[in-house]
């Protein structure tokens, strides 16, 4: 009897330990998100609190981090770079992504649906550095030939690449949103004599509005945070672009391109971490909004 009791308490202790371990792993995601913010902030904090010109950062286009005489950290051109490439990408990806989502969810046969979903999933798996390489080689020469542009690494190239990269996420989240519309809505629309398109346009799209918005937001987050593809495909020129055929440099590409050369803990190094804080904040807000929007539907 006594032996059994000991065995039992040993089992209980083991179980208690494992459950604690599971709990720690469960909440680890919170730690990691805070950890990311904390450590990125920590590396940039010294300069942020000491000599950082926040006005210059947001309003000046003069980015001379390694200049010997007049060091300037104006990130306006970089912010515009990220903004322009993301905007163009969304201009392409939103109609195509939502169109594909509608086609997959409402207009094609179950077999074709499965096949298309697998292709879209494989598309999402292509590594960003391969996308960048495609931009550097295939897209580059295509753009030079088609538009008679002096160089093919520009906003257009980066925008198209980013569009193709964010289409899969828009398609899969958008399709989920359309699928979540109750079947009774479709039946009611069909009973009223709607064609499939009328049903999609008048019933499904309004009903799935929030989910589709979340899909677009997540696409924006993906495009704005992408690094390697834009580093390779947008050219390297720190200025405000006058058109889609001009090269730019984004926030993400700047960190990737300059962190290797900036001496650890120098001002330049710390400013790159401040850009990291900015990027983290942007994507945090975008993701939070997308999540709140999606929750909105579930509550209903």
């Amino acid at each position: 009897m006594k032996m059994r009791g000991m065995f039992h308490s040993r089992e209980l202790l083991k179980e208690w330990l494992i459950e604690k371990l599971i709990w720690i792993c469960g909440i680890s995601a919170i730690f990691f998100v805070f950890g990311i913010f904390f450590f990125v902030f920590r590396e940039g904090a010294d300069y942020l609190l000491r000599g950082f010109h926040i006005r210059e950062f947001f309003t000046s286009i003069e980015w001379y981090p390694t200049s010997r005489t007049q060091v300037r950290y104006g990130a306006l051109a970089l912010i515009t770079g990220t903004f322009s490439v993301t905007l163009l990408a969304m201009f392409i990806a939103v109609p195509f992504g939502l169109g594909t989502a509608i086609f997959i969810s409402e207009f094609c046969s179950p077999r074709a649906r499965e096949a298309l979903k697998i292709i879209i999933e494989l598309l999402a798996a292509i590594p960003s550095v391969v996308w960048g390489f495609i931009g550097l080689t295939v897209m580059n020469s295509l753009i030079i030939h088609l538009f008679n542009a002096p160089l093919g690494l520009n906003v257009l190239n980066g925008g198209i690449i980013l569009a193709l990269m964010s289409v899969p996420i828009i398609v899969s989240i958008g399709e989920d949103a359309l699928k979540a519309v109750p079947e009774s809505y479709r039946e009611a629309a069909t009973a009223l004599g709607c064609t499939r398109w009328q049903m999609t346009f008048r019933v499904l799209l309004p009903a799935a509005r929030n989910g589709l918005l979340a899909a677009v937001l997540l696409g924006v987050g993906r495009a704005a945070g992408e690094t390697m593809a834009v580093l390779m495909a947008t050219g390297h020129s720190i200025r405000i672009p006058g058109g889609v055929l001009e090269p730019v440099r984004t926030l993400t590409a700047t960190i990737a391109a300059e962190l290797g050369e900036a001496p650890v803990h120098s001002d330049h190094y710390q400013v790159l971490f401040i850009i990291g804080i900015l990027l983290f904040s942007i994507t945090f807000i975008v993701n939070l909004t997308a999540d709140l929007v999606v929750r909105g539907i579930r509550k209903k």
Partner: protein
């Protein structure tokens, strides 16, 4: 009897137009990509051989193969897998088996979603700040793998959660009713019944980790490092290493006068590895779905 009126015909025609426009949009996304992939393979064809995989890059990376980066990628993927799998699976177990509907669970889920949305370059900054500098590990395979592990954690958590949720509640109830505790039920019933789903998640994590470049750039991957050809244990845990993704970036942008076939070959190998691994996950998932007994 229904008779087609003018209106019905117009509606039908209209619907057909819409269908074709949407189909065209879908094809416009997919077809160019398939063409591009074939173009990459066509350009890489002359160089693809077993030798290309098993020889080190030579003459300033302008010749030779991709042995050192290939092995480096394998190291990074395996070690990040070792770190991420237990944390990810346990986190999913917590979220699916223990957590109740509450604001706290919502915060955890929100954190997972946000972790997935953090830009890869910010993960790189975090890895540099936390592992390389703060923890003092230095630029190494270990630091890079840890960064990759945290980055790929959300993939693993999401797919494991899905696999666990697919196990019917009745299975658990049956187990509880014979007196098993929560953990015993998870160990004996829930995990064995969802193992193939969890495996799918692990495979997806591999594909994601293999393709990433930015997070390893400043935490452990280097432009060039020669290692013993054919020696599978050539890297140490605290060594820096080459990686396929980083190698593709290097030879296509940083090194002048590289013969064109070399970066194409590297791109095709990287793409091939990632797509094959993904295809494996998809096949596994279809198998599970068709074999499901409940």
């Amino acid at each position: 009897m229904f008779i087609r009126t003018h209106l019905t015909r117009r509606k039908k025609r209209h619907e057909l137009y819409v269908k074709y426009v949407l189909l065209l949009m879908t094809l416009l996304i997919i077809l160019p990509l398939i063409l591009i992939v074939f173009y990459l393979i066509y350009q890489a064809a002359p160089i693809l051989s077993l030798d290309f995989l098993l020889k080190n890059p030579i003459r300033g990376m302008r010749d030779g193969g991709i042995w050192a980066p290939l092995l480096g990628t394998i190291y990074l993927v395996l070690i990040s897998l070792l770190i991420a799998t237990p944390i990810g699976v346990f986190a999913a177990v917590y979220l699916n088996e223990y957590a109740r509907e509450s604001w706290f669970t919502r915060v955890i889920n929100l954190a997972v979603v946000n972790l997935a949305g953090v830009p890869s370059i910010v993960h790189a900054l975090f890895g540099l700040g936390a592992f390389v500098l703060f923890a003092g590990i230095g630029r190494s395979i270990l630091a890079a793998s840890m960064t990759l592990a945290i980055m790929t954690l959300p993939v693993l958590i999401a797919s494991t959660k899905e696999a666990l949720a697919a196990v019917p509640l009745a299975f658990r109830q049956a187990c509880w009713n014979v007196g098993a505790t929560r953990w015993q039920t998870i160990r004996e019933v829930v995990l064995p019944n969802s193992i193939s789903g969890i495996l799918t998640g692990i495979i997806l994590q591999v594909s994601r980790a293999a393709g990433e470049t930015a997070p390893i750039m400043f935490t452990g991957a280097v432009f060039y490092k020669a290692i013993q050809e054919g020696d599978l244990l050539a890297y140490g845990l605290l060594d820096q290493c080459m990686a396929l993704s980083m190698h593709l970036f290097t030879i296509s942008t940083q090194v002048p006068d590289v013969p064109a076939a070399l970066p194409y070959g590297t791109a095709v190998v990287l793409l091939g590895v990632v797509l094959l691994v993904n295809a494996l996950a998809i096949v596994l998932r279809i198998k599970i779905r068709s074999r499901k007994k409940w």
